[in-house]
Symmetry: C2
Subunit: 394 residues, 2 copies
């Protein structure tokens, strides 16, 4: 039985003032940038401004649109099947079409709504930058633009990303809850699994324990199992049976009310060799350093460099992950990245992962990850700290 | 304890000849359409041609590209973090860049790879049609196209969709296994849940049972609980406690080795009123009719009309879902749609859902869904048939 969270589950959803605040902030930034409206098509952005939470996005059939006008509440332009669910949010203006209708999949309705709020001219903000995509068919987007002759698209990635990077108190509560809940599962794991189990059964047992402990979904569970270490950390189970000397990593993004944790734990079956223990010690110490360095005013690049230095001194031979952590919240990974080149200045109420990883022998990597929230005076753990020494599973 | 599947779990992955066949078919169609290459950016398409299976797509940070050339194996242009995982597939030519690098997120590497296979001119196939999207930043796509002056984009949605709609024997085995496994869970559900449980606990218990029974993930679980019926079928639990007279729907897309089931079951707590029982009987009979009609040569429109007629005779007041089923496989929902206007001709080895739904009282809908595979002589159930009468939970 997985250990339960020490934190009470937060209230689900948000009161309207959460969305009023977000919308007002966006509108102030839109005014600064001369934007007549924002057009959003992706799940986190639609949810950020409306509260619309559903797994139905897994179906690629239907696009979903939200317009943030220069004043007033956002407008939802969505398939009829979502009308009732959107009707329970704070949104008043919900325009629906019977979908699927590939001949006109919401395009004329959306075009009309954009012109209602902007008129025939002006700048429409859309997310075109790194880590974004347009969640609608390219051909349909071209058809939309053909109806909006006088409208110019302006990239609004920075506006939305800048807002989403800094979390509200209520958002942090949700992330904190799921981090704490899954921390308990990881602490219990040595009682749940044993040498001789297949990696597939280990993954399965872990997912069930996360659900039982209070996570809504074990949405993302990847990892690896290998003698003395593992080679990559994004794969499903490979079909291996755990043997003495194997090292296991489980990396998970579980959710509560649409908010993610994203952290990992390493375990040794029976025993691990010195190289694996030393590598674990190095990445563990790198998170300690990251925790000390991550405070308001530090850049993500500086945070990365500080963690990298610990691993280099420990003999790191490189890192295929490409960064040492990232933002966290409504998505498994969010802006910014702890990497050289990311000049983002860390601010209070950002939620970040510290994810030092290193190649410590040919084909063998060791990755560790914790989640933190930035306070005025420094970082605070959201995950319960991993033990410095890899736990041993019998 | 959930009832286990009567079918043995199929082999995970595919032998190389599965991908050789897919690639050869695509290349024959590309030749017909004068395409020099396909550029694919979305998870199912990348997986379809390479076998690359990872949950890492949940991170929006990194794009992933596959090029299908006119001859030879596909080429993967991917972030370094995926190199080892892609290295276990049948793909030989794997080009990686250290990612994240938002300044050049694979664009120059991709451009070079495209020119390697196409030269400086010709038609590049990309998916631009209904139910598709481009999974890379719009600004990066513009940057790519600026390097490909002589290349014209041609929509290849029909090529890829047409191939993916008709499943191989091995694909059907995977879908069949997860359908059967989850059927057993639904059959066991009356023993696992009871009046007085919250909807959240019911969802949780169901997900755990699916994992325990052999599903890799309970990726999609939505539903509703309401007195005498429910209003929508895409929502997470609303926080309701199950009372006598409530009707519960659980609709799920569980996965095995990256292949989905997608079906639902309805239950009555203690008892349900006559209207709910009559509505369930109507949608159940509509699936019976759908099963009879769904055979090679029938169009999806005809299949839809046949099911709709059963519900209309039973007094249906409309349908917010917008269609009465759809394709199924690597995604929760795939092309085609069982709707008026979809002229797709049903072929052997298509996997479809039959999903009749109707509004039977103001604000109350009843939706039923089963999964079938089309054989030469007609449909075959992949799900174990739901009971005609809603099971009662005490």
């Amino acid at each position: 039985m997985a250990q339960t969270s020490v934190i009470h589950p937060p209230q689900r959803g948000f009161p309207d003032d959460e969305f009023e605040t977000r919308t007002a902030k966006a509108q102030a930034l839109m005014a600064d940038h001369g934007l007549g409206a924002l057009l959003l098509t992706t799940e986190p952005e639609v949810r950020y401004f409306t509260g619309f939470l559903t797994q139905f996005w897994q179906s690629p059939t239907r696009p979903w649109f939200v317009i943030v006008p220069a004043q007033g509440k956002p407008i939802a332009v969505i398939p009829q099947i979502g009308g009732e669910c959107m009707g329970r949010t704070w949104i008043d203006d919900i325009r629906t079409w019977p979908s699927p209708t590939p001949e006109d999949e919401g395009i004329s309705l959306l075009s009309e709504a954009i012109r209602d709020v902007m008129g025939e001219t002006g700048s429409l903000g859309m997310m075109r930058g790194p880590e974004t995509h347009l969640r609608m068919p390219q051909a349909h987007f071209d058809a939309l633009m053909a109806t909006l002759d006088g409208v110019v698209i302006q990239d609004c990635t920075d506006i939305v990303r800048g807002m989403r990077m800094v979390k509200s108190v209520r958002e942090i509560e949700k992330i904190s809850y799921v981090c704490d809940t899954v921390s308990g599962v990881f602490e219990s794991l040595p009682k749940l699994i044993h040498t001789g189990m297949t990696d597939a059964d280990i993954f399965r047992r872990f997912k069930m324990a996360c659900l039982e402990a209070g996570a809504d979904d074990a949405a993302y569970v990847v990892g690896a199992l290998g003698q003395g270490g593992y080679g990559d950390i994004i794969s499903p189970p490979a079909g291996r049976v755990a043997e003495t000397g194997d090292v296991l990593i489980l990396d998970t993004g579980c959710t509560f009310d649409g908010y993610f944790c994203d952290f990992d734990r390493n375990y040794a079956f029976g025993e691990a060799d010195d190289a694996a223990h030393a590598a674990h010690d190095a990445v563990w110490r790198a998170t300690e350093t990251g925790f000390e360095v991550a405070r308001p005013g530090t850049t993500c690049e500086e945070l990365c460099a500080a963690m990298a230095a610990v691993m280099e001194e420990a003999g790191a031979m490189g890192n295929d992950v490409g960064r040492l952590g990232h933002g966290l919240g409504m998505q498994l990974t969010e802006w910014p990245s702890n990497r050289i080149g990311d000049k983002t200045v860390i601010e209070p109420n950002m939620v970040l992962t510290l994810e030092p990883g290193m190649t410590f022998a040919p084909g063998k990597v060791m990755v560790h990850e914790e989640n933190i929230v930035i306070r005025e005076d420094g970082a605070e753990w959201l995950t319960r700290r991993a033990p410095r020494e890899m736990p041993v599973i019998s």
